[in-house]
Symmetry: C2
Amino acid sequence: MNERIILVCNDDGYQAPGLLALIEAVSPYGKVIAVVPEKSESGKSHSITMTLPLRLNLMYETSHVTLYACSGTPVDSIKLALNKVLTRKPDIVVSGINHGSNSSISVIYSGTMGAVIEACLNGIPAMGFSLLDFSREADFTASKLVVKQMMENIIKHSLPPMVCLNVNIPRVSLHELKGIRLTRQAKGVWKEEFDMRIDPHNKKYYWMTGDFNNFEPNAQDTDEWALANGFASVVPVHADLTAYHAFNELSKWNYEL
Amino acid sequence: MNERIILVCNDDGYQAPGLLALIEAVSPYGKVIAVVPEKSESGKSHSITMTLPLRLNLMYETSHVTLYACSGTPVDSIKLALNKVLTRKPDIVVSGINHGSNSSISVIYSGTMGAVIEACLNGIPAMGFSLLDFSREADFTASKLVVKQMMENIIKHSLPPMVCLNVNIPRVSLHELKGIRLTRQAKGVWKEEFDMRIDPHNKKYYWMTGDFNNFEPNAQDTDEWALANGFASVVPVHADLTAYHAFNELSKWNYEL
């Protein structure tokens, strides 16, 4: 039997401590090939690079772990990995460990999850991991335990077609972590504030800032509730955007020209 | 009663002919405020700009149509419009008319649809329109008829929560257009090819190219089938990424640490 191949991606770039933590956690399960952005690509969602060519640089190579840096987005990195780096389809794709939450609606802006969804579109079991801590000195001990448990699961069960996983881990120590919960994405939205400033040429510019508004902080079946209560959250994410539940209502519209 | 406010976005930039076609088609229904990227932002999906400030420039203003160009992505444009341009929430958001298809899985890479989904997250009825013609000389006559019919629908019926619409229009003349069909997103994937070249400094670079593979070309309930057979396609898209149908299978996993 061939050795299992695990493709690793992230959106924080090849120097992120979370990447090393993820590689450490998954390396017992197979040969690791990491193809990740060369710099931070946070907030890049499912974007691809259409007007520039891409670069790919080998950064590190041992018999068991290989790391490439890609000049593009996380999704570009997955596409290049599948087409130009790997000689066969990987068995599992993991992305992260992201520095900062990708829970609730943040999943849709996330480059970490962009990579995961791209793998899912290509029929590969895929999971993204995010720790609710932006610090470079973040403690990934609890996160690594969650990664291991989820790796055991995905190897045993695989995943339904067009479904991948968004796993978030609270900022707690290993002994404070209460467990892992299967949840849905909490309903919520980022409420932006734009900090308007004047540049030295007397022109306006805007820094985007904002706060997350959770519309249902008491809903115990949501990722936000799990995380606020010391659990890691697992949200199944689907890569087919069709809103099947809306067909009935939309069939009442008039489509005659 | 206040005049209806229609916020317009796109991902091809403020100079795209498709933008003018969309403004023309929706302007009978209310006051138009367009906030669109200053340059092409194709393939930017739901990405936001996190490491640079944003600029916003007023390009054109009459009593009925106002156009701003934004230095960021389509999603940035919607966020800036809602926070800094409009004095109240718009009644409808439309995006496009995109030069090129956003059918099937292309929806997930689309900046046009990123803007639509962002509006949807903010509780605003929203639709994206794309014409299957990349040419700047594209004929938008049939597209404008589809936009008008869908505007009549959305004004009459609104939309379910967290659902928006992805409308694609085939490259046909007005009399060849067979109608509008409510469809699902066809199962398919882009198969990339990377065109490897050597730069003047003797380093490799890769141009991403690719072809769309439709996994179910004969499925008559899909957007691809509708478009190939002369119909415009309407796919309901949901902004909540939770794969609710996967809970049963995923509840069998082991979440004990």
